[in-house]
């Protein structure tokens, strides 16, 4: 079909001319109608319809013209129907209109009369329709032919010999209706396909667009087929579908194939698709390579998925027709035959198939694994996956089972899952690993066997260690921390109540995190340590020991692992963290009554303190942690205890700043006095007091230093703190602390505060309230009465 040159304005002009022509002749036609003048009616209606013979209009505008004519033809039909007006029996009328000069007007008139003829029931519907559909062959111009046949379809719609219609005749009625529509469809499709693209690029584009505009004319036939009463599954299977597909495939037209396949899928019921799945899929594999088969297949799978979701009874149909296997095969074929399909296309198909499998057969993990397996095969055929979009699809593929099952454990059983992950580049691998961890966190999943932990850590190995060629330096520091913190959180989700299994898990985790390198260990070792400590506590609280040579989970063995593990940390180097972990272990060992083990941990802690912790602020905290821990531990015999307390007090006194020394030393006083009702705690009043006195000396020295260096005395707060400690031990019943000790300390503080005043310094406000409230406390205790009251009464304020 060629249209003579001309732009849009020309077309508007021709359309206007056409419409004018129609209106002009319609006017005379109406006059003739009013006069019941059949001859004139036919003459002017033919002239009017001649306007449709134009080949200058685009489909959109031809449609405008056509609609004008269509409206007029409705009037005409009313006239034809009323024999009393024109006097001719419809049979004769049918004969008469065939004398019209040109074929196009002739056919329109014939169809119009045919409509009346059928309605009159003077001839079987099927005969008239057959006649009409064949005669339309006379018009081979694509646009004109398409609209003519469209008209035929429109007027015949309510006159098809369907079941239950007025036009039902002999036994083959429905088949006749089907036959008619199929034939009309076939011819229309042929006309449509014949509109070939010719000419330069921009012209072709416009032609393509115009072809597209015509598609609904063709597609309408399929809608009609879908609506005909009496078209059952067998008829669909034997006749309707094969005929349609024949047209689709043989037409070898990309546009038609794509559109018609979509139509078929949308128009006909899902259960029909299920029962004709093989045929349908075979057609899909035969489509032109330029057709986007992915979308067609995805649409089909979506519809089938929805169908499956609509009712549980439907599911057995899917199994019966082996829907999944067929789809799997078809997709495989499409991917294999369409060699030009980029990898992203194949991946998209796999995602659709997987979605289908997850929705329709969620319990069939083997199906899911099959899809992943096919994906692996395809990925193995390309040297290296570099397309970002394809990568995204693979991530979608791997995420789908995670989201569906809400349980990473299920995904871990899919044998092909790790193989797919292997094909991701390092960056995407890590993204996927993070998604896996997030899924676990979101669902609060607990991974409870060493085997599963092994698989899991293999999957997330991109986060656990440097993969080949991966440069962790490239990664933003914050991102890296987020990654590693996620791994750390994950370690908390690995748990099993059975100690033997739990220790296996600990071994597996340890094995993996040890490959992480010094950057990762500070993140991954602490959670492992605490997992182990929780296990120790569990073992301790279990009544009765499970003894035996094979028993792995014993506190002793766990402490060995802990020692070796924390040791690694101190060489990263992270001495402060390691020290804290050693102290945790020491206390745990003490709870297990393992004195040598606890001592060893303290030794390690002290070594770190001596050799690695130089920062003065860090030292203050470290010493307090050591003293605080040691204060609580009761497993040590006298010798060991003495050694450790001696070291602790020694280091306390050697902190850099005097106030820090003072505080640490008086803290050490508690090492000699454990106020625990349950245990026979140490209560060495003398040594406790020695600490306090030492602290006092240091506080005095601090004051003198302040005087010497700054010309004013320092804050009295240290003295007040020490006073509080004196009161503490006095109240607890330390026999070596006398009321006069306390009184003289109070006096000392007063003196210091006075001298502060005398020097003209404003009183340090923060020690005042402290001192005041301390005195207030003493007064309060005096009023208590009983033993406490008596004690405090001895203190004179």
């Amino acid at each position: 079909m060629r249209r003579l040159g001309g732009g849009v304005e020309d077309e508007e002009k021709w359309l206007a001319e056409g419409i004018a022509g129609i209106q002009h002749n319609a006017f005379f036609m109406h006059r003739a109608l009013d006069a019941n003048n059949l001859r004139e009616v036919l003459k002017y209606s033919a002239l009017m319809l001649s306007e449709l013979r134009t080949s200058k209009l685009s489909p959109q505008r031809y449609y405008d013209l056509y609609m004008r004519a269509f409206d007029q033809l409705r009037q005409l039909e009313i006239f034809f129907k009323d024999e009393s007006r024109h006097g001719l029996p419809v049979v004769d009328l049918y004969e008469l209109v065939q004398h019209a000069g040109n074929i196009l007007p002739r056919m329109y008139l014939l169809c119009t009369v045919g409509s009346v003829y059928i309605k009159s029931k003077q001839a079987p519907s099927k005969d008239v329709l057959k006649d009409l559909v064949e005669m339309c062959r006379g018009v081979q111009h694509p646009i004109r032919g398409l609209f003519l046949r469209s008209y035929l379809a429109q007027v015949s719609r309510d006159k098809l010999p369907e079941i239950g219609s007025d036009y039902e005749g002999d036994a083959n009625t429905v088949m006749d209706a089907v036959e008619f529509v199929l034939q009309n469809f076939t011819e229309m499709n042929k006309l449509w396909v014949r509109i070939q693209h010719q000419g330069p690029g921009t012209v072709r584009e416009r032609q393509e667009k115009e072809r597209n505009e015509l598609r609904d004319l063709v597609g309408k036939n399929l809608h009609v087929l879908g609506q005909i009463e009496g078209v059952d599954l067998d008829m669909y299977k034997e006749t309707v579908l094969p005929r349609i597909l024949e047209q689709v495939v043989n037409g070898k037209d990309e546009l038609a194939q794509y559109y018609l396949m979509e139509c078929i899928i949308q128009v006909f019921p899902d259960e029909y698709h299920l029962q004709t799945l093989e045929t349908l899929l075979a057609a899909c594999t035969q489509l032109m390579p330029t057709v986007d088969t992915k979308i067609v297949l995805t649409q089909l799978m979506d519809r089938l998925s929805n169908y499956a979701a609509s009712s549980p009874d439907v599911l057995h149909e899917f199994l019966q027709v082996e829907a999944f296997a067929k789809l799997n095969n078809a997709i495989g074929k499409v991917i294999d035959t369409q060699l030009e399909m980029p990898i992203v296309g194949a991946m998209t198909l796999f995602v659709s198939l997987l979605t289908f499998a997850l929705r329709v057969h969620p319990d069939r993990l083997d199906y899911v694994d099959q899809v992943l397996g096919a994906c692996v095969v395809k990925l193995s055929s390309v040297p290296k996956l570099e397309d970002a979009r394809a990568m995204k699809q693979v991530v979608a593929l791997l995420s789908a089972p995670l989201e569906k099952y809400n349980d990473i454990v299920t995904a871990l059983t899919l044998s092909n899952y790790p193989r797919v992950m292997d094909h991701l580049d390092d960056g995407t691998n890590k993204v996927m690993a993070m998604l896996i961890i997030q899924s676990i966190m979101k669902n609060n999943s607990c991974i409870s066997t060493a085997d599963k932990v092994e698989v899991l850590f293999e999957l997330i190995k991109g986060l656990i260690k440097d993969l080949d060629g991966n440069a962790t330096e490239e990664l933003d520091e914050e991102d890296f921390q987020e990654e590693q913190n996620s791994v750390a959180r994950l370690i908390n989700m690995l748990d099993n109540e059975e100690p033997e299994e739990m220790i296996k898990i600990i071994y597996v985790v340890r094995k993996h995190i040890m490959t992480g390198g010094t950057r990762r260990l500070p993140f991954t070792i602490p959670p492992l340590v605490f997992s182990a400590l929780r296990l120790v506590r569990q073992l301790e609280s279990q009544s009765g020991d499970i003894t035996g040579e094979d028993v792995q989970a014993t506190p002793r063995r766990i402490f060995q692992i802990l020692n070796q593990t924390i040791e690694v940390l101190s060489s990263v180097p992270r001495p402060e963290l390691a020290l804290r972990l050693y102290l945790q272990c020491a206390e745990a060992a003490s709870d297990c009554d393992l004195e040598p083990v606890a001592y060893e941990f303290f030794t390690q802690a002290f070594i770190l303190y001596e050799e690695e912790i130089a920062d003065s602020k860090a030292q203050v905290t470290a010493i307090h942690l050591i003293v605080g821990t040691l204060q609580r531990i009761n497993v040590f015999g006298v010798e060991n205890r003495d050694t450790l307390t001696h070291k602790a007090t020694g280091y306390s006194a050697r902190l850099l700043k005097k106030p820090d020394q003072c505080r640490a030393v008086y803290a050490c006083s508690h090492l000699f006095w454990v106020d625990d009702d349950d245990l026979d705690g140490i209560k060495d009043g003398e040594r406790a007091l020695l600490c306090l006195r030492r602290a006092l000396r240091i506080a005095n020295a601090a004051q003198q230093m302040a005087n010497a260096t700054r010309g004013s005395s320092g804050p009295v707060t240290l003295f007040v703190e020490i006073l509080n400690k004196y009161i503490y031990f006095y109240e607890k019943g330390n026999p070596h602390i006398t009321p006069s000790d306390i009184q003289s300390l109070i006096e000392l503080i007063n003196t210091e505060m006075q001298s502060d005043n005398n020097n003209g310094n404003t009183r340090r406000t923060h020690s005042d309230p402290f001192f005041t409230s301390t005195l207030r406390y003493i007064r309060f205790q005096k009023q208590k009465g009983g033993l406490i009251g008596d004690k405090y009464d001895l203190i004179k304020l």
Partner: protein, 190 residues
């Protein structure tokens, strides 16, 4: 009515993966006016999360906190009450009430909030009230063998503070409350 959330010792990610889901769903942004945190979060992600619940976040340093810039102690005034905040590993013996009372006098506060022991306590003594919100995640503690996740919500109204403690026991959130009243409006020395 001022709502103050007190919590701490979450130990994420060293000892816990996250707050219990039941707690998370209770901690809705916009309902709380202040958050005071005893420390040991330990990572920035938790800090950021707490900030989404309430932008007025006060936090002190625990010995495992990643951010070394948190202060050792902090004091703030909310309504008629002066509050003091300290993690508690600095006060030896750990968990000892009298030693904490000394710190309270030193900071000159009505309410002292500390942690470290992973054990909820709310104690009134001569100098004021000491509150320990426990561990919000129920993290392992060398001090406390049996840890349940817990946090505290304080409702400060004039001279009265109602302390609500939320504890997750066997999967259920249990609430308890304690009333404290302040005797005078001002504690400052003349």
């Amino acid at each position: 009515m001022v709502l103050v959330l007190a919590l701490g010792d979450l130990h994420v990610p060293h000892r816990a993966a996250d707050l219990p889901p039941k707690f998370k769903s209770m901690l809705v942004p916009g309902k709380i006016q202040h958050i005071i945190c005893t420390g040991n979060l330990c990572i920035k992600e938790i800090h950021d999360y707490l900030k989404t619940i309430c932008p007025d976040l006060h936090i002190v340093r625990g010995e495992f906190d990643e951010d070394a810039r948190y202060p050792e102690t902090k004091t703030l005034t909310i309504g008629q009450f002066k509050l003091g905040l300290c993690h508690g590993h600095q006060v030896i013996p750990w968990g000892d009430l009298e030693s904490l009372a000394m710190l309270q006098r030193q900071l000159d506060v009505d309410i002292l909030v500390t942690g470290h022991t992973h054990q909820f306590t709310a104690y009134k003594h001569e100098g004021g009230v000491v509150i320990n919100p426990g561990s919000a995640t129920g993290a392992y503690s060398s001090i406390n063998q049996d840890v349940n996740p817990s946090f505290v919500l304080m409702d400060i109204d004039g001279l009265r503070v109602v302390v609500y403690v939320y504890e997750l026991i066997d999967g259920e959130v249990k609430v308890d409350k304690i009333d404290f009243k302040k005797t005078s409006t001002s504690n400052s020395a003349p």
